[in-house]
């Protein structure tokens, strides 16, 4: 089992967002998180990634197993595509960036500075970073934003390859990626009763 979450409660800032979340993701399996805007998908992913400590419950995963990709691309606009990838390769222990470059068709862009690329191109570079990390569990927050249809297909292919190699993925997305063996988890039932009425995240559903 790559990732097992038991009775997890997550908070964002002072507000509790989710309670009682339980799921398990086996190697080769993908979990699609669904839920309306503001339900807590990002909060759940940030908790899984270890950025926010959980209020309650447990996250069982190998240490350093999780690669996180956020809304923000995390690219340095003054660095070229290659420099950005090599930086992350260095941070995660030197891995060859060639498969990542091939998977997201970045070869024509290698010497381009990230600041000179379109939003979709930046996103491709940001997703290519996941392959460079070499980590088994991908936690992805709306990874297909600003990608065109062709590159959504490239992304789906990259995820499928990752799963076939024994990896797993937790993906918050609103579109159908067409992944085989993907289970879908709707997080709406886990949305915590808001404790504070002045809660800044209190745009409530239902």
């Amino acid at each position: 089992m790559n990732l097992r979450v038991t009775d997890l409660a997550c908070a964002r800032g002072p507000a509790q967002i989710l309670a009682g979340v339980s799921f398990a993701v086996a190697p080769g399996q993908a979990l699609i998180l669904r839920g309306p805007n503001g339900a807590g998908k990002t909060t759940l992913l940030r908790t899984l990634a270890g950025l926010t400590p959980p209020l309650a419950g447990t996250i069982e995963a190998d240490p350093d197993a999780i690669a996180y990709a956020a809304h923000a691309d995390g690219l340095k606009s003054q660095l070229t595509v290659m420099e950005n990838l090599l930086f992350w390769a260095g941070v995660f222990g030197t891995r060859d960036p060639a498969p990542a470059i091939a998977a997201f068709h970045l070869t024509p862009l290698l010497d381009r500075r990230a600041g000179e690329m379109s939003a979709g191109q930046k996103r491709r570079l940001s997703l290519a970073r996941l392959l460079v990390t070499g980590r088994p569990v991908w936690c992805l927050d709306e990874p297909t934003v600003s990608l065109d249809a062709e590159n959504v297909a490239r992304f789906a292919a990259a995820v499928t390859t990752h799963l076939a190699a024994g990896g797993s993925a937790v993906i918050a997305t609103h579109i159908d990626l067409g992944l085989p063996d993907a289970t879908t988890l709707d997080i709406t039932p886990f949305v915590a009763k808001r404790i504070r009425t002045d809660d800044p995240f209190a745009e409530r559903m239902g």
């Binding site: 964002r12 800032g13 940030r46 990634a49 270890g50 950025l51 926010t52 400590p53 350093d64 999780i66 690669a67 996180y68 990709a69 956020a70 809304h71 923000a72 691309d73 995390g74 690219l75 340095k76 606009s77 003054q78 660095l79 420099e83 930086f87 992350w88 260095g90 941070v91 995660f92 222990g93 970073r129 990390t133």
Partner: protein, 218 residues
Amino acid sequence: MIGLLKRDLTLAIRAGGGFGLSLAFFLIFTTLVPFGVGPQTAILSDIAPGILWLGALLACLLSLDRIFQLDWEDGTLDLIATSPVPLEGLAAMKALAHWITTGLPLVLVSPVLGLLLNLPGPGYLWLMASLVLGTPALSAIGAFGAALTVGVKRGGLLLSLLVLPLYVPTLIFGALTVARGATGQDALTPLILVGGITLGSLAILPFAAASALRVNLR
């Protein structure tokens, strides 16, 4: 972690990186002092140690908010926090990169500016020694302040208010070293104190900065 340092240095040198801002500020500030104070060499000699140290300190302060803010804004900080690099190491590397791009150039130009302010001959060695030993403390304290205010948009004011009181001991002993050295008194004692402040800052503050970052990333 060496990769982090190399990346920060590359970013500083590339367009828009802010390298040279502190240096230019230090040059302008110190060059303008004789215009404001007047050309009496005796007065300039008296105030040179304080002015040089004050200029270096303010120049350091100028670039502090960039230390973590840019990485926080573009999401890099979140990603580094989930990487194998410990945040303590990140904080230490950030402080080191800040010192190399800010503190070190200040040390190197300080003798020229000492000349402009008519710093007495024996003071130059003490000036450079005190800046070499003292500016790392300014960078380490600054990195800690930047980590505390990383989530605050336009947090420069808050950062200055937090950091300035912590800079005071370094300023006092640094300027005292130069003033005593320039007048031929024993300057070793304040210099050792400056070194002590720096060593203490380097030992403790990366850990404090990492804790502050963890809280701010929640």
